[in-house]
C-alpha cells in the first residue's frame, strides 16, 4: 500500500536531538575538574550546544569560593569534538583525548 506523508508539504517538527552527533567525534574533550574555575566560557562558545550545567557539588571545587557555582558537564551524545572549549578554556581545564585511546583505557 502506498504510504504518503500526512501533511501536504514538508513541515519539520521532530527535534534534532534524535540525531546523536557524538558519533562524529575523533577527539573527546575531558574536563579536569580540579582545574575548572566554573567560568562557563566553554558553555558560551559550544556550537552544538553540548555543554550542560550540573549541580555545584557534582565535583569538588578547586577553591572554596567556587563551590556555590554550578559545574559543567559535556553531553557526549552530541559533542562532535571540535575542541573550541579546550582552546578557549582560560585555565586549560579541558584536554582533548583521542577517542580510541579512551576506548583502550576503558577496555583495560
Amino acid at each position: 500500500m502506498v504510504v504518503l506523508p500526512e501533511e501536504p508539504t514538508p513541515i519539520a517538527k521532530v527535534p534534532s536531538t534524535e540525531n546523536k552527533t557524538g558519533g562524529w567525534r575523533t577527539f573527546r574533550p575531558r574536563i579536569i575538574y580540579e582545574k575548572c574555575i566554573r567560568c562557563y566560557i566553554c558553555w558560551k562558545f559550544c556550537p552544538e550546544p553540548a555543554i550542560e550545567f550540573d549541580s555545584p557539588d557534582a565535583h569538588p571545587a578547586p577553591k572554596p569560593a567556587l563551590a556555590k557555582f554550578d559545574t559543567v558537564k559535556i553531553n557526549y551524545d552530541y559533542c562532535k569534538g571540535c575542541g573550541i572549549c579546550a582552546n578557549e578554556c582560560p585555565v586549560n581545564a579541558i584536554e582533548m583525548v583521542l577517542e580510541e585511546s579512551i576506548e583502550e583505557e576503558e577496555a583495560d
Binding site: V2, L4, P5, P8, P10, A12, K13
Partner: protein, 396 residues
C-alpha cells in the same frame, strides 16, 4: 450586485478586493500595471484593508506572497510576460509549499523583439509549475474567476495556487459592463481564510526543509499530482455553487459552444473564444456545422472533456496563441496526447495571433473552412500550420 463599466484590469482589481486578501505584493509591468494601481487606490481610499508591499521585482512579489501566505493570510499579486517568467522559480516554490495564492496574469508577448501585446507564451511557459491556470474570455469572467480560484485553491485537499489569465489589451484595457457582486455575498461564499498550516511561534516547525532521496520527496510530489487531479471535480463543484449564489454559471473546465452535431470543433484559449463564437453563429446560418470548445482551465488539463468533445466531431482544430519549439504548441500537443488511444479524429494545430497579431472573424472563418475540408477528407494536410504569416496567400 452593481453594474459597472470596467476594464479587464479593473475587474481583476475588483476580484481581488472582494476576496479580501490581507497582503498584496505589487510590481508594475505593462499591461498589468493598472491592476495594482487600482488596488493601490482602493487601499489608499480605505475601501480595501490590506498590507500593500511595493516590492522591487516580480521575483520578490512572489517571494513575499509565499512568505505572507505561509504566515496564514490570503495574498494576491498580478504580473505579465517578463515579470511572470522572472517569477518562475518561485511559482514552483509556491505550489510545492502548497499555498493557494491567486495571481492575475495579463498574457503578453515575450521579447525579443519587445512587444507588449497579447500572446500566451508567458503563461504557457509556466504550465509545469504546479499552478492551476484559467484563461478568461471577458471581464466578468476575470472578476468571477479570482473569487472562484480562492475558493477552489483553499480547499484543504487542493491547496494549490491559481493564475487567472486575461489577454493583454483585448481584455486588460477594454471596458465592458461587469456585475460587481456585493461584498457580503462574496464574504459568505468565500468565508474566512483557514490556512492548513502556518508559521507560529507556539508551534515551531521548519517549512520546506531538506529531504534525501530516500525521504518522501517523491511522495510530496505525488500528493500534489493527486491535488491537481482532485481540482477538476472541485472546479466543477465550485462553479456550480458560484452559479447558485451569483446567478452566473461557468461550465467547469471547458465551455462548449454549438458542439452538438458539429463536423469540426475548434479548441481555443482566452478571448479568441468570443470571436470564434460569433463566427460559429454566422457559419451555422450558412449551414456549416462548426462548433467551439473554449478550454478555460489548462491546468488541471481537462482530459475527460476533450475526449468527449473528440467523439462529437470529425475533426478538431486547435488554436494556440503561443508556440513551444517542440512539435506543435501546447494546447495542441496536450490535446493529441490525451486523445491517443481514445480517438482517431484528425487534429490540426493552428498557430495564430502571436505578438498581438489581430485574430479577425475573417481569419477565424478561414480556419473553420480549412477544418471543414479536413473533416470531409478525413485527414490533415499538415499537422501544424502558422496562420497569417506575411505574404502567405492562403490566409490573406
Amino acid at each position: 450586485m452593481v453594474k459597472m463599466i470596467l476594464t479587464g484590469n479593473e475587474s481583476a482589481a475588483w476580484g481581488a478586493r472582494l476576496s479580501r486578501p490581507k497582503v498584496i505584493a505589487a510590481y508594475p509591468i505593462t499591461p498589468q500595471t493598472s491592476i495594482i494601481e487600482t488596488i493601490a487606490e482602493f487601499i489608499a481610499n480605505g475601501e480595501m484593508d490590506a498590507r500593500y508591499i511595493r516590492v522591487e521585482s516580480e521575483h520578490s512579489a512572489m517571494a513575499a506572497c509565499i512568505a505572507a501566505q505561509n504566515t496564514g493570510v490570503r495574498t494576491f499579486t498580478a504580473t505579465s510576460a517578463h515579470g511572470l517568467t522572472l517569477m518562475h522559480e518561485l511559482l514552483i516554490w509556491a505550489s510545492g509549499a502548497r499555498l493557494p495564492i491567486v495571481m492575475s496574469v495579463v498574457n503578453r508577448a515575450m521579447a525579443p523583439p519587445w512587444s507588449v501585446w497579447t500572446d500566451q507564451l508567458d503563461s504557457m511557459a509556466q504550465r509545469d509549475t504546479g499552478w492551476m491556470q484559467i484563461y478568461t474570455e471577458n471581464n466578468q469572467e476575470v472578476l468571477d474567476s479570482i473569487i472562484i480560484s480562492y475558493k477552489v485553491g483553499e480547499k484543504h485537499h487542493i491547496l494549490l495556487p491559481t493564475m487567472v489569465m486575461e489577454d493583454a489589451f483585448i481584455l486588460s484595457h477594454t471596458s465592458e459592463p461587469v456585475d460587481v457582486p456585493e461584498q457580503k455575498m462574496v464574504d459568505d461564499f468565500l468565508g474566512e481564510y483557514e490556512p492548513a498550516f502556518k508559521l507560529d511561534p507556539d508551534d515551531p516547525a521548519g517549512f520546506g526543509s531538506l529531504i534525501m532521496p530516500e525521504g518522501p520527496y517523491m511522495e510530496f510530489r505525488y500528493k500534489m499530482a493527486l491535488a491537481m487531479d482532485a481540482a477538476r471535480e472541485e472546479i466543477r463543484k465550485v462553479s456550480q455553487e458560484f452559479g447558485e449564489v451569483f446567478g452566473r454559471y461557468y461550465p467547469g473546465l471547458v465551455e462548449e459552444y454549438r458542439t452538438e452535431d458539429a463536423d469540426a470543433i475548434m479548441l481555443v484559449l482566452g478571448t479568441i473564444g468570443s470571436t470564434a463564437k460569433d463566427v460559429v453563429d454566422r457559419m451555422r446560418e450558412k449551414g456549416k456545422k462548426v462548433g467551439l470548445a473554449r478550454v478555460r482551465y489548462f491546468r488541471p488539463f481537462p482530459f475527460e472533456e476533450i475526449r468527449e468533445i473528440a467523439k462529437k466531431a470529425d475533426m478538431l482544430g486547435v488554436v494556440d496563441r503561443s508556440y513551444t519549439f517542440g512539435y506543435g504548441a501546447n494546447l495542441y500537443a496536450e490535446t493529441k496526447s490525451v486523445l491517443y488511444g481514445h480517438s482517431d479524429v484528425p487534429v490540426k494545430n493552428y498557430v495564430m495571433g502571436l505578438g498581438g497579431r489581430d485574430i479577425t472573424p475573417e481569419i477565424v472563418e478561414k480556419v473553420f473552412d480549412d477544418m471543414l475540408k479536413i473533416a470531409r477528407e478525413g485527414q490533415v494536410d499538415r499537422e501544424i500550420e502558422w496562420v497569417g504569416l506575411h505574404g502567405d496567400e492562403r490566409w490573406s
